[in-house]
Amino acid sequence: MPSTFSYQFDTPSHKGITEFSTGLFINGEFVDGSENSTIDVINPATGKLITKISQGTPKDVDRAVAAAQHAFETSWGLKCPGAERAKLMNKLADLMEEHEDELAAVEALDNGKTFYWAKNADLKGAIDCIRYYAGWADKIQGKTIETNDGKLVYTRHEPLGVVGQIIPWNFPLLMLSWKIGPALATGNAIVLKPSEFTPLSALLTAKLAKEAGFPPGVFNVVNGYGATVGAAIAEHMDIEKVAFTGSTLVGRKIMEAAAKTNLKKVTLELGGKSPNIIFDDADLEAAVNWAAFGIFWNQGQTCCAGSRIFVHAKIYDEFLHLFTEKAKQVKVGDPFHPDSKQGPQVSNAQFDRIMSYIDSGKDEGATVHHGGVRVGDEGYFISPTIFTDTRPDMKIVKEEIFGPVGVVIKFDDDEDVIRQANDTVYGLACSVFSQNINRALETAHKLKAGTAWVNCANMLHASVPFGGFKQSGIGRELGEYALENYTAVKAVHVNFGHQWSVA
């Protein structure tokens, strides 16, 4: 029997108890992993153990897939009308809302993000997303298509079957909702692998999903490592589709595995090195605020972070001064303290990685304009960091750091800054700041990114598609567009008049 995680929160931001099983959630029950092994879950604010969770194995993935398949063929899929699926999803959203503070606290504890942001961004976003897709569940429509007299042709948008979903640690619950929303709405059954760094909110959500009344096997959670459980999902012959959010490096492996096994459909949400272009006619104060939000929010652990900040020469000095002031105002500390604006990075490994990028920046000759240091001596806290005097070939300019490290680059040529902005293998997002709408739109249209923010940054909505150009990904999440990822089109040709003869 897997153990129960029971934790009493007693913090300035939240007081209360949370309790849920640490097992794998397969076929509607919490069970031990097949090897009875566990994974340690660490509190990044302290570096100390929070609890242990069951570790899944490829065998557990098999079990989960079998349960999902059975559910798909009997109680889910097209056997369950869309309106019913909608009802269950709305019920889950209701329960998440009832447990909003508890979920936010668990998320802050596990990931390190502040309770404030967990509640106001992650939870709100996740609940909205589930509700948004609940609304689609009974609206999965095909077309009837004119061909000729004597024939009826129509398309059906059918669910795929069992889908594998692998989510990252930066927005655990939000990423979970982005994945399960469209998958459930369209009638698919899910095997989901949370990140081994941040498994807790997924387990609590599984408990709520069971309470909501989803048939067993519809939603399965298999915690484990990428190299074992993640690979097993990507290679599984009975999984019709894999959706992955994470690094570009791992994304390639997923796609390779899919190609080598059953050619399962693949969607990928990968990394970014998104440009934020601030023109001289920008509303400077607003641009500074958005730029800070763009790179420092979520401890910089955002795939669409505006990590390369291009500032027009005419306003460069003033921008840098104001931006640095903003960085100084970011209070880094205990996620549960109401004054904290930034928590720790998610893990020791991430901490080391970011610090090594900061070192490489120094080594390659960039200037640490602000920060660049650890904060405190417990946990994985890093100061908001600003680099200047960079060159395009530097690692800190080319590679995704995934930390609160922004690179500020001076420019004076509109055409050239667009060229520089596009000079990356990534293409996830971009921001443009200008009060001249002509300039803003023209630039936004020329930037090669899946999301272009004009006079804002990092604003997402469940109804608007999100995804990458180039090596930032394949496919789109959110909005109506996500439904395509989880349906297969069948064209049905009904002959009611044509005779065939072999003449």
Binding site: A83, D128, K139, S463, G497
Partner: protein, 441 residues
């Protein structure tokens, strides 16, 4: 009239996001579900239909309708359209039409309310609702729930009034941007005229029908008879899609007619609060008298009454299932909408004859066909002139499938995604960010 001029309602679409409208609609659905029994009893009291049918069908479907449109509220999208990437951007917005006058009938008071209110609110419109003067009670009760759900004041307004007063005022009102009406074709024309004469408000109409059902020889006779009985007897025939003409292929005529008569006899029409009742009285004395005048006309014009046709003694507007045979196309009972449990049964030899008989009407709301020949099903369903064609079934509607009339049965569609078109108005925004204009040209 003055009550309308006082109402100065803001367009919710601009002030309340789609997400919030979605939440409010879902909340309203939850409240109606909570109060289903009470609403069902009120509906039974006012309209006459059995409580269990009001609760499980009318209200059940209405709750589904609100939830369905709650799901659309944050999905009202337009298009972005390529013109010339270097200099221009065009996009459309599907804006709420504005203030909608909605006039609903007495046959399904709660359900007609939901069909109108749900898509209008989902799209961000505001509403002035005139329920039928015969059945205003549930609309008033629902107004209480609208407040409890948290809709801003002024979004849903309810003004019970006589059609000739309140309905006419809405149709002619310069402050009303759109009128949606369900009722008789006669009144529908007046609404459209008033709209034309006043401010060219947008009009959608769900009017009458004289819907045919065709029973082909390959049909499952027992099943077809069930569907035919449902078609004319559900809601005591007070249904715009009532299958009030049934045409049977010669070869199975006698057998089918016998079966149908047995089915019709099996229905228990009684007091709506009696658990045994499968159908209730007709809604009012006016309707009662109207139906009986048609029954008399049927007899006078020479049709043969093989079931019913005799008034029940005692109180209440009860009309028993009535079936006429040996009908001819020109008869009143064959041409006019009776809106009661009175069926005209005819016969045909060929498929072509059946289609012609079925389409020989100015109406075009519903049609049914029963056949086990797939090719026939396809040909006939394509040929029937009706907004809804039911194949091997009848009368069943779903919130996500559009519904409306061809010909003089109506204009526009309710239900499904199609209803959204009735409550949105397309604005194209053409944005220049690069073209300079030379002047003079």
């Amino acid at each position: 009239m003055s009550k309308f001029t006082q109402v100065n309602v803001p367009a919710t679409g601009k002030n309340v996001s789609g997400f919030e409208r979605s939440r409010l609609l879902n909340k309203l659905a939850d409240l109606i579900e909570r109060d289903a029994q009470e609403l069902a009893e009120l509906e039974a009291l006012n309209n006459g239909k059995p409580v269990k049918i009001a609760r499980d069908f009318d209200i059940g479907d209405s709750v589904g309708c609100l939830r369905y449109y709650a799901g659309w509220a944050d999905k009202i999208v337009g298009q972005s359209i390529d013109i010339d990437n270097k200099t221009k951007l065009a996009f459309t917005k599907h804006e709420p039409i504005g203030v909608c006058g909605q006039i609903i009938p007495w046959n399904y008071p709660i359900m007609m309310w939901a069909w109108k209110v749900a898509p209008a609110l989902a799209c961000g419109c505001t509403i002035v609702m005139k329920p039928s003067e015969f059945t205003p009670l549930t609309a008033l009760k629902l107004s209480e729930l609208v407040v409890e759900a948290g809709f801003p004041p002024g979004v849903v307004n309810t003004v019970p009034a006589l059609g000739s007063v309140g309905g006419a005022a809405l149709a002619a009102h310069p402050g009303v941007d759109k009128i949606a009406f369900t009722g008789s074709t006669v009144t529908g024309r007046k609404i459209m005229e008033a709209a034309a004469k006043s401010n060219l408000k947008k009009v959608s109409l769900e009017l009458g029908g004289k819907s045919p059902q065709l029973i082909f020889e390959s049909a499952d006779i027992d099943q077809a008879a069930n569907w035919a009985a449902l078609g004319i007897l559900y809601n005591t025939g007070q249904d715009c899609t009532a299958g009030s003409r049934v045409y049977v292929q010669d070869s199975i005529y006698d057998k089918f007619l016998q079966t149908l008569i047995e089915k019709a006899k099996a229905l228990n029409i009684g007091n709506g609060f009696d658990e045994k009742s499968g159908g209730g009285p007709v809604v009012s004395k006016v309707q009662y008298d109207k139906i009986w005048s048609y029954i008399d006309a049927g007899k006078q014009e020479g049709a043969k009454c093989v079931l019913g046709g005799e008034k029940r003694p005692g109180k209440g507007y009860f009309v028993d299932p009535t079936i006429f045979t040996e009908i001819k196309p020109g008869m009143k009972i064959v041409k006019d909408e009776i809106f009661g449990p009175v069926l005209s049964v005819g016969r045909f030899k060929t498929e072509e004859e059946a289609i012609n008989l079925a389409n020989d009407t100015t109406y075009g709301l519903g049609a049914g066909l029963h056949s086990n020949d797939a090719g026939q099903c396809m040909r006939v369903s394509q040929a029937l002139e009706a907004g809804t064609v039911w194949v091997n079934q009848y009368n069943l509607l779903y919130n996500n499938v559009p519904f409306g009339g061809k010909k003089q049965s109506g204009i526009g569609r309710e239900l499904g995604s199609y209803a959204l078109d009735e409550y949105t108005s397309v604005k194209a925004i053409q944005w220049n960010y690069g073209e300079k204009l030379d002047w003079p040209l």
